[in-house]
């Protein structure tokens, strides 16, 4: 017969086989598997449980489940499981710090199910897994996130402080330039005027030495006037809002040259104005750059026999570089760092007059245009001043 019922012996054999399979599965599992009676005392635990907690089977059997929890967590665990059973939930998941026989703490993630028989809870079965590494990693992550947050807050605070300091410095600078324009100019006018009256007053009585003394006063007053004007120009360079336009640099350089050089000077100097790339910038400030660079070149070239000024410009992908090269007095490359500083001069007044501010104005203007300035030179072999401007995108 095809549908023959198996006999009792066969059924018993099959059940035994199935139970054996089930037992092997539990005993060889990588997870903790254990079971308690209705009061929560252990009646079965697999080998992983014994290994993880360090108890022998005899020690483990009869322990209350809460003894496996870290003491600080026991109340919480008791409440958690009471709620599960009160609400009749079939399964729960809890992560908790466990302690082994030696008191060492580790973390478990545990699934618990009640074991039912005829509608009554007769015990509990749980599967748990070691999650210590994950918990520690999460802790470390939380800690580093907190550190980042703290660092960010500190950084923000520092930015606020620095901004305030900068704003204060700017206000001071403005107050300073106002004071330069008003308070320093007033006595200059007086000195200038009264030396004029003195010359008039003495008239014929003034001898050669007297005239020389007055000339020294006058020329120094003039020098001071130039300094004050240059300082004002420097502070205006900072304050002026940039009006960005396309600039024909060839035309601007030529215009500026003819503006600052007297006809006699123009005759003495050999200069050409080759076609240069257009610039994108503030025309008034760019004029100031050409004016300062060209007047420097003129100043240092006039004293020489060979008087050539070469200017030019070329673009690459990112920037346009312009230059002014002269055959003048030049400078030692070891002094190149001093060139662009306020009031720093490489020559004495007897050699070359100057305020020591011109190149710092050039640098300020170019930096405000997000460009760079640099220079090359050799003593008595001339100097080349470069400035770059970003190519407009």
């Amino acid at each position: 017969m095809q549908n023959q019922q198996p006999d009792l012996q066969t059924l018993y054999e099959r059940l035994r086989e199935s139970e054996e399979k089930y037992r092997r599965l539990v005993e060889n599992a990588a997870d903790i598997i254990y079971r308690t009676d209705g009061e929560g005392r252990f009646i079965y635990m697999n080998p992983v449980s014994l290994r993880m907690f360090g108890y022998t089977e005899e020690e483990f059997t009869g322990k209350h489940y809460l003894e496996l929890f870290h003491p600080n967590f026991r109340n919480k665990a008791r409440q958690f499981y009471a709620t599960q059973f009160f609400n009749g939930r079939f399964t729960s998941y809890l992560e908790f710090p466990a302690v082994n026989k030696e008191g060492k703490q580790f973390w478990l993630g545990q699934n618990v199910q009640p074991l039912m028989e005829e509608g009554q809870i007769i015990g509990f079965q749980a599967v748990a897994r070691d999650i210590t590494d994950r918990v520690h990693a999460e802790d470390a992550m939380r800690k580093s996130e907190e550190e980042v947050r703290t660092l960010n807050a500190e950084l923000e605070q520092r930015v606020i402080e620095r901004t305030m300091q900068l704003e204060n410095a700017n206000r001071e600078l403005e107050a300073f330039s106002y004071s330069v324009s008003h308070d320093l100019r007033a006595p200059l006018l007086t000195i200038n005027g009264f030396s004029h009256f003195l010359a008039e007053h003495l008239g014929e009585k003034l001898d050669e030495e007297g005239k020389r003394l007055l000339t020294v006063i006058r020329s120094n007053t003039q020098m001071m006037q130039n300094l004050v004007s240059a300082l004002l120009m420097l502070s205006k360079t900072n304050k002026k809002e940039l009006e960005m336009v396309a600039i024909d640099m060839t035309a601007l350089a030529e215009e500026t040259f003819l503006e600052i050089a007297s006809p006699e000077v123009v005759k003495k100097i050999h200069i050409e104005f080759p076609s240069m790339p257009q610039a994108h910038g503030d025309k008034l400030l760019m004029r100031q750059v050409w004016s300062n660079l060209l007047s420097n070149a003129i100043k240092f070239t006039l004293a020489k026999e060979e008087r050539t000024i070469t200017i030019g410009g070329h673009s690459d992908e990112n920037r346009t570089i312009y230059f002014v090269k002269d055959s003048g007095a030049g400078f030692d490359m070891k002094d190149v760092g001093k060139l662009f500083g306020v009031f720093s001069r490489l020559h004495t007044d007897e050699q070359f007059e100057g305020t020591g501010i011109g190149l710092s104005i050039v640098r300020r203007v170019v930096h405000r245009h997000h460009g760079d300035v640099w220079a090359e030179g050799m003593p008595d072999k001339g100097a080349t001043f470069y400035f770059s401007l970003p190519v407009k995108i």
Partner: protein
């Protein structure tokens, strides 16, 4: 001070700049009936005939006022405000003299009805020329309205 005619009222706290202005006016024969006060309060006392100027008549207005911007206590702009606020003085031409090149001062002065604004040059010869030009304009070229 008695009730004398005044062509130019100079309000200038810097004694040397006052002298420079005076000498410059003299050089160009414009210093006749020139009067100089050293601060804003004295300027207003003079114009409104108060205090030591109690004997003056308010109708004898100066033909032009040279007003320094930076003055102790009352600033030049404050003095200008009070001059413009009074019916009896609001027509007097006022020219601001100053070493300041601050744009906000220029704009504020213009809003208050300033007739001119001269930035004092550092150089005396240029200063003398500026003084001569404004003196000449207001005393010689500009005829006050007939009453």
């Amino acid at each position: 001070m008695s009730d004398q005619k005044v062509n130019i009222l100079l309000v200038e706290d810097n004694p040397h700049h006052g002298e420079l202005a005076m000498r410059a006016l003299k050089m160009h024969n414009l210093a006749e009936n020139f009067f100089w006060v050293k601060n804003g309060e004295d300027a207003l006392d003079f114009l409104f005939c108060r205090g030591e100027f109690g004997l003056r008549k308010i109708e004898n207005k100066p033909r032009v006022i040279f007003l320094d911007l930076k003055l102790p206590k009352k600033s030049g702009l404050d003095v200008l405000k009070e001059i413009r606020a009074d019916e009896r003085t609001k027509d007097i031409p006022v020219v601001m003299l100053t070493t300041s090149r601050e744009e906000k001062d220029i704009v504020e002065g213009q809003n208050l009805g300033l007739n001119g604004y001269v930035v004092k040059p550092d150089d005396f010869e240029k200063f003398a020329e500026a003084i001569r030009n404004i003196g000449y304009y207001w005393l010689v070229l500009n005829q006050p309205p007939k009453r």
